[in-house]
Symmetry: C2
Subunit: 359 residues, 2 copies
């Protein structure tokens, strides 16, 4: 078990050693740690290894000029200058919030970026300003459009955070696929078959083989098959891809660059790096903030009190599980599997710093 | 078979007879007809009967003062004054487009409205302005949140229209459920069972009974069950409900009023009527319009040329089927089932106008 503050300090130290400024390192480390405490460890410090290897391969710019390259009163485009995704992402959300303060809403597209951690982190930045926050990002192609047998889209998540008054905020943060890729890795490690509805083989036949993605297979969009609405999941993933990739001038669809150093950069590009999209809407640009937040309290209470299905204890509000995870982990600490702590030790050694186990 | 122009003129005449101005009647009739030619006849002239009965019950205001009640440079809230949904919806999208022209984007919430037809119609209004259009609406509660056994959300559709250069526009228009309600009606009429993944009984057990909604059952969100990501469909439906209902000050969730005259208005309300949400983003608020649209052409071509799954002919782009339907129906005419044409005859008689068959 590790404490939040120790892993925050360690992650921050590693990023500093790579060459990021102290502030950039610390602010980015907070996003890694947010994934840990919110129970999404697949986006937590486990990813430090990927970034480290990308950095060693010269694919992460540690002296970036992250800047606004175009803007209107309610929009902006930011060039991430090939750096850690967290840096342009945070600036983008701050810019969206600033613009929403001025004209009611703000919408910012980012190009030339890489993975930015959990989408929900940025959406939630809007909450303390009494704003609704939105985040999307495209990602390396793994997901097949309906009727196709080829990974063309990323798991392209959407996060929406909506403030309430006395109730905790509504925070939805979800990939536009039935499950995330981690589910395949876990099933493969356990030697288990998966149920159908998550993936297909290279010809487009339903597959329960958890290693199918390494055999030319692809993930299915939310909905699974056409009969159960996979074309709607395909629409969602496409919208995220276009808002993140095409509006910003980043790469889209199959041209999104791989975010692991063992895969070479693609020969063909149609833009710069990968792309994100951020939005902030001041709730009082629509209704008085207190009135809106009271109404959200009532929305949340109404849905929380919906009649549970037989065998279920309660109906959840988006964000409940992450908040419960945070409460628990703040108390018990963060658990890292040996593969991750071993990885962190190796990274620490290479920078002549220490990684202390169970600190 | 009926011609587009005959049904447009007839629908317009009926709405005029109800008391709407000539312009309101004609502009609203166009939305009914757009549903017909785009192949979504469930939202076409079949609905005229519902509106007629709501009008007879005094639940549709034919002399509405539809007006902006609050605004900022990039947002507005419109009060629909209990009229036909098409009237405030069109004003809302026009307002969003106007604001986008001024400050880059425009976002408009509508309260005190009723059903507005197909969401895609309004989103597509943005296209000719080189803008991305978005539309959402809440609707009467039929859909259960994950882990619940109670209809709390409508089928809450989302439409997003994105302009391209030489390719036809990307137009996604989909309910946040695997199927629409019409699928149940059709299966029930044919006496067929449905596959699982669409509905559950009153206790939350999976059900293939097409009449289950009349027996206390509920529809499932996109994803079907928790394992296949129904919590993501629940998130989507909730976001649509909150943007449409809570931001505007309309009713939300289970309090959305029924849009058929045979169901009484609910005793408890938490706002005014039902709600919609509209958005417009100028593409040149992000990138030069031509550059963006060229990039969209490339996106569309890339996805259209994805490798088809075994047994599939081609991969579709959102909007393809509707465009094909429109081409076909403009040529062959619109087919109405006898129940619908009989209904239209009765409405015509009550207004002393004629409805000519197969005109």
């Amino acid at each position: 078990m590790y404490s939040y503050s120790y892993l925050l300090q360690f992650t921050s130290a590693v990023l500093s050693k790579m060459g990021f400024s102290e502030n950039q390192a610390y602010e980015s480390a907070k996003v890694f740690l947010a994934a840990e405490i919110r129970g999404h460890s697949t986006h937590g410090v486990i990813r430090l290894g990927d970034y480290y290897k990308l950095w060693k391969a010269g694919r992460i710019n540690v002296n970036p000029k992250v800047r606004i390259i175009h803007e209107t009163p309610s929009t902006a485009v930011i060039d991430g200058d090939s750096t850690l995704g967290m840096i342009p992402a945070k600036l983008a959300m701050e810019t969206a919030i600033l613009k929403a303060g001025n004209v009611g809403t703000g919408w910012v597209a980012v190009k030339n970026s890489c993975n930015f951690g959990i989408a929900g982190y940025y959406a939630m930045m809007a909450l303390e300003h009494d704003m609704i926050g939105m985040t999307m990002t495209n990602a390396s192609p793994l997901v097949s459009p309906t009727f196709a047998a080829e990974g063309m889209l990323g798991t392209n998540p959407i996060a929406v955070a909506i403030p309430a008054l006395n109730q905790p905020a509504f925070v939805a943060d979800f990939a536009t696929t039935p499950v995330n890729r981690g589910k395949f890795t876990i099933a493969a490690k356990k030697g288990e078959k998966m149920n159908l509805g998550f993936a297909q083989d290279k010809d487009g036949n339903p597959s329960g083989d958890p290693t199918i993605l390494e055999k030319g297979g692809s993930m299915l969009p939310l909905g699974g098959d056409r009969e159960h609405g996979s074309h709607k999941g395909y629409c969602l993933g496409s919208i995220v891809d276009i808002f993140s990739g095409v509006l910003s001038g980043a790469n889209f669809g199959p041209f999104v660059p791989p975010m692991v150093a063992y895969l070479p950069l693609l020969e063909k590009t149609v833009g710069d790096g990968l792309g994100h999209f951020f939005g902030a809407m001041r709730v009082d640009a629509f209704r008085p903030a207190n009135e809106f937040k009271q109404s959200m309290d009532e929305w949340i209470t109404t849905f929380r009190n919906a009649k549970p299905a037989l065998g279920q204890k309660k109906v959840l509000i988006p964000g409940d599980l992450e908040r419960e995870s945070e409460l628990k982990i703040r108390e018990t600490g963060i658990c890292l599997i040996p593969q991750v702590s071993d990885d962190l030790k190796i990274i620490a050694q290479s920078f002549s710093i220490t990684f202390e186990e169970n600190k």
